[in-house]
């Protein structure tokens, strides 16, 4: 995974060729006005390198991390799963995450910054987020970090969209939107797969059969777009 790839970086990085550098003023502004904290967000790429290392270690260590993780894995998965479900379930909840990241990177202090996440200007949510995040375990924090940072590469998505639409010009906002939708869709499938695994009382990594069952359930719920079977005026 490329360095410094949080979801907003992934969405915006290829846009901004100039190194983001309005740290001081922007961060000061961001303190008072969360709406303008986007500029602070832009100063993320450098400090993120520090954050990246422990994350990569966590992600790449194979068996050594797997065993302790699997014990708490299912509980943690449901915790993080429900967390993301609630976070993603509310509109304001999704708004929360963007401001967290900006404040996070502003702090420039690795451990502390991950614990101080304000949310979209709502002091109530800010307090809640901080309370939750301060109590994260190592594994939860690394999983949360993956959740925030992972995202589809804009170039890949652009290529895919161009191939689907037949080489139409794909605008950047469209790439961003589709990447966001796709990421949330991945989240839905993975969470449903975890639910399926819980029902079957299985543990460990998600297997394709769980994914297929999750996909089938989502289809029943109507969350998967499909062509209507009977097309009258086709």
């Amino acid at each position: 995974m490329k360095q410094s790839k949080d979801p907003f970086e992934a969405a915006f990085e290829e846009q901004e060729d100039s190194p983001p550098e309005s740290p001081a003023d922007a961060s000061a502004d961001a303190r008072q006005n969360p709406n303008s904290s986007i500029a602070a967000h832009s100063s993320q790429s450098q400090p993120q390198d520090q954050l990246q290392l422990p994350h990569d270690d966590n992600a790449k260590k194979g068996p050594s991390q797997f065993t302790p993780g699997s014990g708490s894995g299912s509980a943690n998965a449901s915790a993080s799963g429900s967390f993301t479900a609630t976070a993603g379930g509310g509109g304001a909840g999704t708004g929360m995450k963007s401001k967290e990241e900006e404040e996070e990177e502003e702090e420039e202090n690795m451990d502390v910054e991950l614990g101080k996440f304000p949310s979209s200007g709502d002091p109530d949510k800010m307090a809640k987020m901080q309370a939750i995040l301060s109590q994260f375990t190592e594994e939860q924090m690394s999983r949360y970090e993956s959740f925030r940072r992972a995202g589809f590469q804009k170039s890949n998505m652009k290529r895919l969209l161009a191939s689907i639409t037949g080489t139409q010009k794909i605008s950047v906002p469209m790439t961003i939107v589709v990447s966001g939708i796709a990421k949330m869709f991945v989240g839905e499938v993975v969470e449903t797969a975890r639910i399926v695994m819980q029902e079957r009382k299985e543990s460990g990594p998600i297997r394709p059969c769980h994914l297929r069952e999750a996909y089938r359930r989502l289809k029943l719920e109507g969350k998967i777009f499909k062509r209507p079977m009977s097309r009258l005026f086709r």
């Binding site: 970090e145 589809f152 689907i164 605008s171 949330m184 990594p205 499909k226």
Partner: protein, 135 residues
């Protein structure tokens, strides 16, 4: 209808999942690295199974394909796709809709911030160029 997308997304839209045979024209593992981290973030193991990742990639590509085709159906009056088509398609799904509007507004703000930054940078550059030639 499918002729435009037939070249690279030639998967049959069946209920069975066949990972490699049907996507001969599409590179495998396009999203693999990101998908691994994404799946971990959403609750999978730190090392998801490769076949799960491959299957997930197929699911995502199919989902995006369907999404784009539906958007094309809707937006075909205008002759080209626009972002509003996608927003219309996910209007029923509140989390996605809010997330997309948030991303778009952030994009706008970022563009504004960049504009301001670039004009400042030009001014700074001129100041420095007085002292010493700077590329």
């Amino acid at each position: 209808m499918s002729s435009s997308g037939g070249g690279s997304s030639s998967k049959p839209r069946s209920a069975s999942f066949q990972p490699s045979e049907t996507s001969s024209k599409r590179k495998r593992g396009v999203f693999q690295k990101e998908l691994q981290h994404m799946m971990y973030g959403f609750g999978d193991d730190p090392n998801p199974l490769p076949e799960s990742v491959a299957l997930m990639e197929d699911i995502v590509v199919e989902y995006v394909t369907e999404l784009v085709h539906k958007a094309q159906d809707i937006g075909s009056q205008r002759g080209k796709l626009s972002v509003e088509d996608f927003l219309y398609l996910i209007r029923k799904d509140l989390p996605k809709l809010n997330r997309c509007t948030e991303l778009l507004s952030m994009n706008e703000e970022l563009k504004q911030a960049r504009k301001v930054f670039e004009s400042d940078e030009d001014k700074l550059r001129k100041v420095f160029e007085v002292d010493e030639p700077v590329e």
